[in-house]
Structures are given as C-alpha cells and as structure tokens.
Symmetry: C2
Subunit: 399 residues, 2 copies
C-alpha cells in the first residue's frame, strides 16, 4: 500500500520516466565527461543574468530599505505593479480603450504561479480548458489542481492555430483557451491576425454558451523572438484575456521564481478577476511573489539577456538539422525546436539519439507523438559538435 | 453573473470582510496619524532582519556564482538541504533511529508552500484533516485546494491538546492531523508528553483504519519561545510526522517566501513521500523555493532576530491586560495573545476596541467565537499606550 495520495501515486509514476532520463544524462556526463554529452532535454537558460541585474540586486541589498523583505499586499508591491503597468502600456497598450494600471497586475511566483492563480480564479471542478497540441504537459496538472481538465485541440499546418479544431473542442464546460507564444516546444509565434481570429471565435462561442471564455496566454518567451519579429499582443485581440509571464528565460533567473500576471484593462469587471487572483495567490500558498526580486526587476523591465545569442543558436541548429535532411518548422522564438521524428515511434528515435549521447524529449511528452523536442540552451560549439551525432542517428533511422 | 469561479466568488466575498478591516486601519491611520492607531490585527514582524542576513545576502550577490539564480532540483539546492538536515539533527534528532539527510528536506515557498506540498502529497478528494480549534483559517483553503476538508477538534483547557476530541473526530476519511506550535492565535507550546500521547493515539487510530494518519506540524514560530522553553519536536513523538516551517517570523523575511518541509527520517517509505512532495512543489506552480534566499539562509540556520524583544512585548501586553481584568492564557511563544471576549459576541467587542483605535481580530476568524486575537508585532511603547484603550473598552463591555 502506498502512503501517498492516489493522485500523486499516479503522478510520481509518470514523473519517474522523466527522472530516469535526467539520471541517464547525469550518468553519461559522469562516465564520458560533460563535453561529450549533448543535453538538449531541459529548458534551463545557460546564459548568465545580464550584469545590470547583479548591479541592481547589489544596490538594493546595500540600501537595506526598511520592509524590503516584509509582507506587502498579496498582489505585490504597488510601485512595482505600477511600473509593470507602465511597461505594458508602452509595449502592449496599442488598440486598447483603457490603460493598464497597478490594478491589473499581480506579481507572481514565476509564470507557473501566474497560470495557477489565473486558473484558480476562473475554474470550478468539472470545467475544461482547451489548448492546442503540442503543449507543455504541466498544463494538465495546472488544470487538475483546480479540478478541471485540459482538452487538447489539433495543431494547424506548421503548428499555427487551428481555429476549426479549437471551435470543435469548445463546449458548455469550456472556461478558457490556453495558448503559449512564442511556443514551447515548437518556437512558433502567433500572428496578430491569428489572435484576432481567435478573439472573434471566442466572442461568438462565449455568446453561444452564455458566459465569457477566457483567453489565457502563457508568455515567458515574449522577448525571445527572432528575425526582427515582435510578438503580437493578445490584449488588442480579445477583451477577456489574461497573460502569465516571468523573468525566468529573458533574464536567466528561473530559480528565483518571479513573474507576473496581467489582466486586460478592457475586460469587463476586471476588478473582480483581480481580487480573485490576488486571493488565489494567498490561498494557494504562494502568498506573494518574492519581495527583493520584485523590487529588483521592476527597474529592469526593458532589459534582457542578449537575445541575439539564442538566435545564433537557433540558426546553427535549424540550418544544421535541415541540411542533414531533418523535417522541421523553423522556430521564430523561444529556444526549442520540434522536428519530425524520422521513425514513426518518437521514443525509438529518441533512443537512437541517446546512443549518440544526444538527449532530447519525445513528442508524446508534449501530447504530439511523431516529433521530438530539442532545447538549444547550449553553447554554439556544443550544438555544432552534436550535428554529426544527429546525422548518424538519421542514417540509422533510414537504414 | 460573476465572471470568476463559483468557489472564488464565495471566497472573495468572505475575504472582503477582512479587507474592509484592513482598509479601516489604513483610513484611521490617515485621519488620526499612525501613532494614534494600535494595529494589532496582522502578524507582520516589525523587527528588521538581523544584520548577518543583510551581510550574507550582500556577499552572495557580490560572489555572483554561476547558476545561483538558475534552476535546481524541485526540492531545492542539495547543499542547502544537507545543511538543513544537519541543523535538524542538532536540534531535533534526539530519540530518532535514523539521521536526517538532504533526502528528507524540501525547500519551499514559505510555510504556506510547505503545507500545500505536504497536503497535496497525501490528500485525495474527499479526505479529511483534523485540526484543533482555534486555528489559522487559511488551513480551510489549504485542505480545499486538494479537494479535502478541515474537521475541527475542540481545544482542551488553556488551549492544550484535547485528545478525546481529536480521537472522536478521526474517522475512515482522516488522512492527517494538523497542529501548530507555538500556536497562532493562542501562543501555546505543546509539551513533549502531549505530543507523545498524540503520537500513541495516531498510531492506534491508523492501525484501526488500516492506513497511517500523518501528523503535519506547522512550525514557523519554533524559535519564538519564551521563559526558557524549548519547543518539543514532533519527530520523536510519532514516525509519520512531517513539518512545514519558514524563516518569515524568526528572520523577519516574510515577503521573501522561503521555508522548508522536513519528513521524519524514521517514517517508513519516506522516499515516496519525498518524491511526491518534490513533484507537488513543481506541479502546484511553486517549482522550487527562491534560489538566492535558499543559499543565503542555509548559512544562517542558527540565527534569528532578538527573540527577547518579542518576549518583552508579550510581558507588557499579557501583564497589562491581566492587570486590567482580561481573562487570558499567557502565551508561551509566537507573537499572539487570545483573550476571552468580555462580551459574548466577539465581533461586538472587537468593535468596542475599534472605537479606541485598537484593531484586533474576532475569535470567529479562528473558528472559536468568544475570544479575540491580538498580534503584538508593535513597538513596546505602542503596546503600553494601547492599554488605557483596552481598559476603557473593558469598562464599556462591563457597563
């Protein structure tokens, strides 16, 4: 008999597959040396935080202002939220009737914390959240945390939004559509026209079902966009929109658990959603986002690591793999690439790559078998040195 | 029609009563001046963090060690967890068969985060958690977050553990008993004999119901003990015990959301509980405890603010109120006092105190009407200056 809950017995059994893969990576590194193992399995930014982050942190610690480590409202420091609101007005305010204020911003324990307080605020047990495949499988837990369930929609060509499938999956229990752009694991960035069309779809579906359907946008990779692309905002596309984001990827501080949620200022009755999300922050056990990091990042909203370095890696990997004959959609942002598996069974191909000391994640780990995910948070030389292994694995698969 | 979930519609309606009280405090301070309002309503430590905390933080920021702000295992930095384990062996290892190791420690987003990952790991929907009245009402949400419910037991004389009531409340759905020592809102510290008796009760109840009942101990006030008392450990009392704690109160850093959970090393199959709690940390959206604060506090495990300052306040307030004729149980720890309400209706008496610009919380806010809570996180002079107001309110109540 297990001593833990039935739910977590199932969850830990599933999780131990992933853990085994990580352990395999550690084992390989220990036996072969770290430069011989190409660990493309995890989205852990390898660039250090920008120097201005360390400087700001040092200044704040030296200042030792009274209360800097104390409680504040569950939504976060008001002056920090006001600065985030000003940032949102500059970057995503176009086309909105109302400006962002501190009352639409809640500082959170990373984007995962943001998504959980958003979902807690809007979901009752039995509700459904539609999300396009492939998707970050943690979403299943985030919905289940609040008694709800993810309903996957099919992807469109090149992983673009498939409005027909989304429309088909929306029913009377649908409370939200959850999207992610730039996208993990495909690197796709949804265009303004796609978002506008999705907004129209959700408006009419909400009217048909007699209650609004929220558009929840998971955006931790917003600043990681390449080829001069700007990530279009969901706010202008649809009033019932809420975003969750973090500084984890663009400032390389994922261990600090700092991000925010922002509510569309054009959302009718946004105050009640804000109140529910702030209370959710408290009762889910987050209480508030870490204080010192709130204060530090409020002055660094326009900063980021050098995005060009990730773009350079994208180029080496996408060009390299395409040159070898891999079928892939060129990522437009984030730091993931999601090629077709040359074998029908993506697990088998991931195992072929493992024989080359290349660690990746099968597409079934993102609810889309037949593909595999490569995370390119690795130095350019490592990426280059991995290409012969990718070539050999492809040859074996074809042979 | 509300746009938020039914659950949160109810929750925010309840929460707005508390919010109104806080707003009243802010309004009073603005109109009368901050020194004229005696805000005993919130447990927000007013002492600054000890200087060694600032120094350690400054050193860590200056070091800028690679990866210090990056991801680590969901359970926290292994070297930090090893230091916490060593601390637990020094302070709570007596009477245990096995020593604590890093594998029984999970760094968390405060004690609230710790309690939520513990409960998530052991509770299925429909399960029950028994806790003695009065209790921190957030526990209701923490249980509900995982589909479970709090079942309150009655307090014993002077708020000591009432084993008869606890035994009576334990049924086939009981998965845990949740205690808190030093106790919010009474300041009681459970004695080693009380804990041992509770342990025996849980052992036999677990055998009767065919599965272990966990003892979950919420211990953020462990270092805030007075009169030379040492807070006895639950670990020696019962093998199926888990604690959640934080540095919020003893280091005055509640805004940083840093604490830990520790599993009894004598707990059979502690590894599966550890795995479930580490996974819960991830899937509830905490992911991990804030990195820099983990590293900072790992070297400060024997440090705290000057506890004597809180003891001094306890003396001024407990002696002062007892001298005025209030009926109270002298607190042994934490920074709360929970006197009997001189009026049968504690709301009415809290309102009488409000007329004296003294803000407190009615006992019904802790599931025990007929009392009220005073939090003495205020400078000694403020506490002294509040006593005439307490005297007048008592006179009015008696008059």
């Amino acid at each position: 008999m297990t001593i833990i809950s039935r739910k977590m017995t199932t969850a830990t059994a599933g999780a131990s597959l992933v853990r085994k893969m990580f352990e395999e990576g550690a084992r390989l590194r220990a036996s072969l040396g770290p430069d011989k193992v190409f660990d493309f399995s995890i989205g852990n930014p390898d660039l250090p935080p920008p120097p201005v982050f360390q400087k700001t942190l040092a200044r704040l610690v030296a200042e030792a202002r009274p209360g800097a480590h104390g409680y504040m409202p569950n939504s976060g420091w008001p002056e920090v939220r006001a600065k985030v609101a000003a940032h949102l007005n500059r970057t995503e305010g176009a086309g909105l009737k109302n400006p962002f204020t501190a009352d639409q911003v809640i500082m959170t324990v990373g984007a995962a914390g943001a998504l959980n307080i958003i979902l807690k605020a809007i979901l009752d047990p039995g509700d459904e959240v539609v999300t396009p495949r492939p998707y970050f499988m943690e979403y299943n837990y985030y919905a289940d945390n609040h008694g709800a369930a993810i309903v996957p929609a099919e992807p469109g060509p090149a992983f673009r939004l498939n409005l027909e499938s989304i429309a088909e999956k929306i029913g009377p229990k649908t409370r939200a559509v959850l999207i992610n752009s730039p996208h993990n694991p495909t690197g796709v960035i949804y265009r303004a026209e796609e978002l506008a069309a999705l907004g129209r779809l959700l408006t009419s579906a909400g009217q048909r079902h007699g209650r609004p359907i929220f558009l929840v946008s998971d955006e931790p990779y917003r600043k990681l966009a390449y080829d001069g692309l700007k990530v279009p905002s969901v706010f202008a596309a649809y009033p019932y929109s809420v975003i969750g984001t973090s500084f984890s990827k663009d400032m390389s501080v994922p261990g600090e658990r700092i991000g925010y949620a922002a509510i569309n200022p054009d959302l009718p009755d946004h105050q009640s959603l804000f109140n529910a999300m702030a209370l959710a922050n408290r009762i889910l056990g987050f209480v508030n986002a870490p204080s010192l990091m709130q204060l530090a990042l409020a002055d660094l909203l326009e900063e980021s690591v050098d995005i060009g370095l990730y773009e350079q890696r994208r180029n080496i990997l996408a060009d390299g793999l395409a040159g070898l004959g891999y079928q892939l959609t060129r990522p437009e942002g984030a730091f993931y690439l999601f090629p077709r598996s040359p074998l029908a069974n993506d697990d088998d191909f991931v195992n072929l790559l493992k024989e080359e000391n290349i660690l990746t994640v099968p597409g079934r780990g993102f609810s889309l078998p037949g593909y595999f995910r490569i995370c390119y948070c690795l130095p350019p030389d490592m990426i280059k040195n991995s290409l012969p292994g990718f070539a050999r694995a492809l040859a074996k698969a074809k042979g």
